[in-house]
């Protein structure tokens, strides 16, 4: 038996070397593509989705973000903000504030206030840190100033949600589609009861 052991080991090694192993990724890179994505498309499902082309990620193929402004009930802000902000604030004193539900829980007060993202001179617009106007549908450009890692992942596809399916065209939700910009942290919750309740 002892004499056979090295032989068995040799046979095992030979077996390993004869089995050539190809990783799926090396296969993928070698596969020629004739009809990209087999012609599959989610265009019909995205027909009613209002969207804009994402700007500022030029190394990536074109993709779109779902617009938020059409579904925002308080937009455009100029519906109410007809007077300068300071005057409105003076007049509102003692009354219930219009944005009573907004409590900024995003970053410490010494880092961030309303004006960090909102442009006081034009309340319909957001602003970069250098006070450049940003349309509300391109709000990701404001978020991306601090959250660069998340923005890159979002643009590439590792963060956020895509609409309709895997097939092109690529339309993704904006940052505020999932995160409340005034309170971006997700709260803990109970898991859904999938199927029957847990055994315990």
């Amino acid at each position: 038996m002892k004499a056979l052991a090295p032989l068995a080991l040799l046979a095992l090694l030979a077996g390993c070397s004869s089995h050539s192993h190809h990783s799926v990724l090396s296969q993928v890179e070698k596969t020629p593509v004739q009809q990209p994505n087999g012609g599959a498309s989610t265009a019909a499902a995205l027909d009613l989705v209002s969207r804009v082309k994402v700007e500022g990620f030029d190394t990536l193929p074109e993709f779109h973000v779902a617009r938020r402004s059409p579904s925002m009930d308080k937009f455009p802000c100029m519906k109410c903000h007809t007077k300068p902000l300071a005057q409105l604030q003076r007049e509102q004193q003692g009354k219930k504030a219009a944005h009573w539900e907004v409590k900024l829980e995003h970053a410490p007060a010494h880092i961030m206030d309303c004006a960090t993202c909102h442009l006081e001179a034009d309340l319909d617009s957001l602003a970069t840190l250098k006070r450049n106007k940003v349309h509300i549908d391109h709000a990701y450009q404001v978020c991306a100033q601090c959250h660069q890692q998340q923005a890159n992942d979002w643009a590439g596809g590792a963060h956020g949600k895509r609409l309709a399916g895997w097939a092109p065209p690529r339309v993704i939700t904006s940052c505020a589609g999932c995160h409340n910009p005034h309170k971006p942290k997700l709260e803990p919750r109970l898991p859904v009861l999938a199927g029957r309740s847990p055994a315990r």
């Binding site: 192993h21 990783s23 799926v24 990724l25 296969q27 993928v28 596969t31 593509v33 004739q34 009809q35 990209p36 994505n37 087999g38 012609g39 599959a40 498309s41 989610t42 499902a45 990536l60 193929p61 890692q149 998340q150 992942d153 590439g156 596809g157 590792a158 963060h159 956020g160 949600k161 895509r162 309709a164 399916g165 895997w166 097939a167 092109p168 690529r170 999932c178 997700l186 803990p188 919750r189 109970l190 898991p191 859904v192 009861l193 999938a194 199927g195 029957r196 309740s197 847990p198 055994a199 315990r200």
Partner: protein, 329 residues
Amino acid sequence: MNTNGQDLFPILGQPKQSGLEQLLNRPVDRRTAIQTAAAALTAGLGLLQTGCNPLAASESREQAKLEWETFFQGNYRLMDDDEKTSTIRRLERSYELNTGRKINVSGQGPLQDVLYGYAFNVSKCRGYMDCVKACITENNQDRQSDMRYIRIHEMQNGGMDFSTADDAFFREVPAAGHFYIGTQCFHCQNPPCTQVCPVQATWMEPDGIVVVDYNWCIGCRYCIAACPYDARRFNWADPVVPEDELNPNQHYLGNRLRKKGVVEKCTFCIQRSRSGQNPACVEACQTGARIFGNLLDPDSEIRWILKNKKVFRLKEDLGTEPKFWYFMD
């Protein structure tokens, strides 16, 4: 073989009579005769009753014909297009005759130049279980045995030990000091499960989806033993899906109703993915932890992740080449 052996194991000997002759010529005692007569009377009455109702008679005749044809149905992979179509029509009609409701079974084949891949962001999963619920509903999984293709494992920070993970957690999530990781069928490019099937009832489709022909499966469960990832499930009893919760949009190799004694598993929601949609788990995930796409499309999200994130797979050393990668932010 000697005469004694033939007496002991008559079945091994050459049959001298046809099956019918054997049945007719078998010795019948008084008790058996009465039992048989009673059974024949019941059957006869039943036949008479259906005979008086011409509609029911034609429907039950049709049902019997469908069952007869289904009994002799071959392996789905060996069928030509006509056979596939008639097999699917038979399935739809049979369901309609049984329940009075219609289902829509697709036999859509793989898309050209598509190889499906999946990525799971361990940093993002918060244990909400929305994916599990969506999967159960979408794929008509057995409610009685609480079958789930997806498992979400609650892991203690500091390690990744599946043997001590909690798969049945129910508390506010994410729980402090824990993280969550999901497993399901990884649709290995080198799948061990398909190789052990003695009847070739399970195989990998050209688009990389590992499927089961539920009609051809003999329920030996070799594939379950061969899978290193605990991805396959067995129907120990007839699956129960409430009629009002049934998903009528089905695929022959996917979420059509299974029966007792067959193996089933995740199919990347073949009924959805082959028409460009995401699997139900991907769509249901509220945190965006699940990403699905075409590995052969260099512009796909999954390819971006494989190129730009540090990814890993489970038990990579086995050489199974799962098309399911994990990564972290």
